[in-house]
Amino acid sequence: MARHQFGDKDVSASCRAPNDIPRARPEIRSPPMPSSVPLITRQFSALGRYSVLMLGAVSTLTEWGTYRRNIGTQMMRVGVDSLPIVCMATAFSGAVTTVQTAYQLVSPFIPDSIIGAIVTSSMVLELGAVVTGFILAGRVGARIAAEIGTMRVTEQIDALESMGLNSVGYLIVPRVLAGIVMFPVLYVIGTFVGISGGLLVGSLGGFVPAGDFLDGAREYFQPFDPVFGVIKAFVFGFAITSVSCYMGYYADGGAEGVGRATTQAAVLSCVYLLLADLVLAATLL
């Protein structure tokens, strides 16, 4: 805080950005967008900035040395550290789906094995990826936005750049890569745990015997479903990490700006996750 009050006024002004989009290199600062500009224009301009940022990230993919050291750490933070909470959430959603399906199926004409089919396909198709996605939007998205946002407002990104380092390659690429690699991993493990949770609660709670559960799951199993789930997880991983990186990278206005970026990262991650979910379901299923 102190250093911002000490800082010259022109420093905070420069924390916004050049109003031209550099042709030869990724944008360092966000272009100015006064609130007098219509919302729709600001949205399109944000989309444009986001695309330029991501293109910059893609163009630095070849600079392996830039993000090599970070990718392990990021995979750890995005993936392994999120495993316990993801497993807990999917286990519970699997268990709850089992109990609620059993509760809703009162007809004696419907075999109990249907419960297994419903729980398995819901987990594989939707819940596994979406529950994991929501947790990571909150956990990973907010963290990324806060980290990068803080680096932005404390000039750490400028410091990186001034050293001659590609800050996009150094900060964004490893996080997005970690997201798109680890998210499917989390999805697979989470879905496995979720189905196991449903199976366990179903058999221990007397809703459906384990054998029936698995029979139903196998009977209605579509080989494309888990592939679709992994595709979804891949897209969600990209959406969450890239949106959060974007929010953090263009954070502005000190601690408050970082807070705003963090909240928006979590919220927008969820929104884009749901949009991507719908688009994928409409196009691939």
Binding site: G72, T73, M75, M76, G79, V80, L83, T120, V181, M182, P184, V185, L186, V188, I189, T191, F192, A217, R218, E219, Y220, F221, Q222, P223, F224, P226, V230
Partner: protein, 309 residues
């Protein structure tokens, strides 16, 4: 620290990969570690078969369906599926789709070829044995069945008609037969009557002969014995004649009975209501057939019994 991080990341990636592969294999009814091979078949009607449906051999699940699509070359349904490597799919193996789509339990059965045949290679093609379900087969066969019933009825009508014609026609074979039987019997009777007189006269001649002999011999014992024997012979001949006479009487009785309308042939010949009854049966069968043509559904359930034959 860094090493352990990377180790954890690596372990979780590998764990996820293993779960993904084994999970899919498990839910696809693939053996978790053994390999499978692909086969194809072609059907007229997939009957709701979708990828993921199980493939069974004699009720044992051995694989599942991978892909169902319309073959653009012949508009038939092409089905790609896989079975366990150790299932003996040999030449002559056929496929059949069964189950009810409405209940979502469609499956594909493999009807294995005879043991000892050439094994079908991976990617091989198996013919489909059309085994439509019960209702379909009934519906398919209904016109044939109707034709058959129709034909039987026509035949029956023809038989009955010709029977009646035969019986009514004075020149018909049955009638001639019966008449010839009667005339034969009459002729036989005639002959026997004529012969009796001759036998009687023979016997009288013999009697006079023996009397003359007796007188001539003067009561010799041997002659008397000979005559005695001769008398026995004649008596036995007489008995024979009597049997013939009884037989003739039986024939006579038979004919009489036929004439009176007793026995099957008599019934046929003499019963005037029989034709009428047959006729009414035919009429009612005709009504039945008409009704069947109008409402086949009412009879389909019963037709199933017909199909079982």
């Amino acid at each position: 620290m860094k090493y352990s991080n990377e180790l954890k990341v690596g372990i979780s990636i590998i764990l996820a990969g293993v779960i993904f592969v084994l999970g899919i294999r498990f839910f696809e009814d693939l053996p978790l570690f053994r390999t499978t091979y692909d086969l194809e078949t072609e059907l007229d009607d997939a009957a709701g078969l979708i990828p993921g449906n199980v493939v069974r051999v004699n009720g044992v699940t051995v694989g599942s369906v991978d892909e169902v699509f319309i073959n653009p070359e012949n508009n038939r349904v092409r089905v790609r599926f896989h079975v366990d490597r150790d299932v003996p799919v040999r030449e002559g193996t056929e496929t059949a789709v069964s189950g009810l789509d409405a209940l979502g339990v469609v499956r594909m059965d493999l009807l294995l070829g005879p043991p000892g045949g050439e094994p079908v290679p991976s990617g091989g093609f198996l013919p489909n044995r059309s085994e439509p379900d019960l209702l379909t087969s009934l519906a398919n066969r209904a016109p044939v069945l109707l034709d058959q019933v129709d034909r039987v009825m026509e035949d029956l009508g023809g038989v009955l008609t010709s029977s009646r014609t035969q019986l009514e026609d004075p020149a018909s074979d049955v009638r001639m037969l019966l008449l010839s039987v009667r005339s034969t019997v009459g002729a036989l009777d005639e002959t026997l009557r004529a012969e009796r007189r001759r036998v009687s006269s023979i016997l009288t001649n013999v009697d006079s002969l023996t009397g003359a002999l007796s007188n001539a011999v003067g009561g010799g014992d041997s002659l008397a014995a000979a005559v005695q024997d001769l008398r026995g012979l004649v008596r036995r001949m007489d008995a024979t004649l009597a049997g013939l006479d009884r037989t003739l009487g039986g024939v006579d009785t038979l004919l009489g009975k036929i004439n009176r309308g007793e026995g099957t042939v008599g019934l046929l010949v003499n019963d005037p209501s029989l034709y009428r009854r047959t006729d009414s049966v035919l009429v009612s069968i005709e009504a039945l057939l008409a009704d069947f043509r109008a409402n086949p559904g009412r009879y389909l359930k019963e037709m199933r019994i017909v199909d079982l034959f």
